[in-house]
Symmetry: C2
Subunit: 225 residues, 2 copies
DNA sequence: GCAAATTAATGATTTATTCAAG
DNA sequence: CTTGAATAAATCATTAATTTGC
């Protein structure tokens, strides 16, 4: 197994031309916060993931380039050791069910819920859920498209009036769903320290047409519709 | 100079079919949480139909679509009353300075800091900062591109070996910056309730070449304007 | 001068691409 | 080669400028 470095982007930075990275020295914190020191490892060792790698990863990028420049590179290392989320079969099962049920772009609240639910089957974060839907939606769509094309080329040059049935149907559905724009939410995204007081989120109503039972897998099963 | 209009696309949108918002009812919360009641207004304040333009602004949106569908619409209304962020001149000044300094894709920590700083000049959230950079970067880029094209067409068909100086320079810089992929962070994005314990963020080193003084505007005593 | 009507800017979301882990 | 992660491009929606008829 080849070990991967993270994005060690900052390594090649040395050669960076940067017309004139003029000054240097201090940065953000000048007037901002004493945050200087906190940015080491986040802690929370949480070992033992499904495939708990070895704690490899982090010795590498823990180094801070230059203590004085707080702004750049405040790296928070994934404490556990794993890099990317590796969904368990159960998690995938649930996600796919939700997808089949019609969910496409869950809002932050939904994501929260789903994450919490899926957390029972293994480590998972909100962003994983978010990305999963993004990717799945996109890739299903492109799969459809490919299939459609293939069908077309297969059937030679038939008048395109025929509904290709299988594919087309899903396509249509998907399309209807994604046509209308929906609003998402940042929720506490990127947590803004200062002015959270004012406005909250704006949330949304993601899929009005979705009606599946959210976690039918759960034994709890109190509520149906 | 010819002025171009943008997309007035939304005018014809009234005819939107919206095939069939079929079923309805239940959703997520089945086994999840009792969050039942908090979800008031479904959509963002201000009716947002395209043609609702002439209507009064806001009395409308208070209506709740359907009390039983918990999943959709967990809205927390912007308490202030306004919908979208409207940057103050000072905020813009700072943001542009950062941008000119080379910042392009601030990581969550940076965003936090910037937000905090800018919070002194008015209401602002992390996402606003995030979006600002996204948009500004994109639009600067497209401005450059347009300018470049214009330059080309203006100079007729000169051998493209000439460095167009002004434009090109910026372009090159921008390009260099954006070429290498950088990693962002979700931070607590979309807040995942359940398993936040584990891994934190992954952060990154956005602009390695950037070294500008972060908030020179208010070194502590006098602010710019 | 002034609102209504347009148009231009730009904040906010979604979709398409790209990168890289496994 | 599949797919999680991240960024860029495209799009939508709302607000500010600006124009226009009075």
């Amino acid at each position: 197994m080849r070990l991967h470095r993270f994005h060690v982007a900052y390594l090649d930075k040395a050669a960076s031309p940067s017309s004139s990275p003029p000054s240097i020295s201090q940065s953000l914190s000048s007037s901002a916060i004493p945050l200087a020191l906190q940015y080491l490892r986040p802690l929370a060792p949480k070992i033992s993931f499904p495939d708990a790698r070895k704690m490899v990863v982090f010795p590498e990028f823990a180094r801070v380039r230059n203590a004085s420049r707080l702004l750049n590179c405040t790296v928070q290392v994934p404490t556990g050791g794993t890099t990317r989320w590796n969904p368990s079969p159960d998690q995938i099962k649930v996600l796919e069910m939700l997808y089949r049920g019609g969910m496409r772009t869950p809002n932050s609240f939904q994501i929260e819920q789903i994450t919490e639910e899926l957390g029972k089957y293994g480590r998972i974060e909100g962003k994983n859920v978010f990305y999963w839907f993004q990717n799945h939606k996109a890739r299903e769509r492109q799969k459809q498209k490919r299939a459609a094309l293939l069908t077309l080329s297969t059937t030679s040059c038939l008048p395109p009036a025929e509904t290709k049935d299988g594919v087309e149907k899903e396509e249509a559905c998907e399309d209807a769903l994604s046509r209308k724009r929906r609003c998402r939410t940042w929720g506490d995204v990127h947590g803004d320290a200062a002015t959270t007081t004012t406005a909250e989120v704006v949330a949304d109503c993601t899929d009005d047409d979705v009606t599946l039972e959210l976690f039918p897998l759960r034994p709890d099963q109190g509520k149906a519709n």
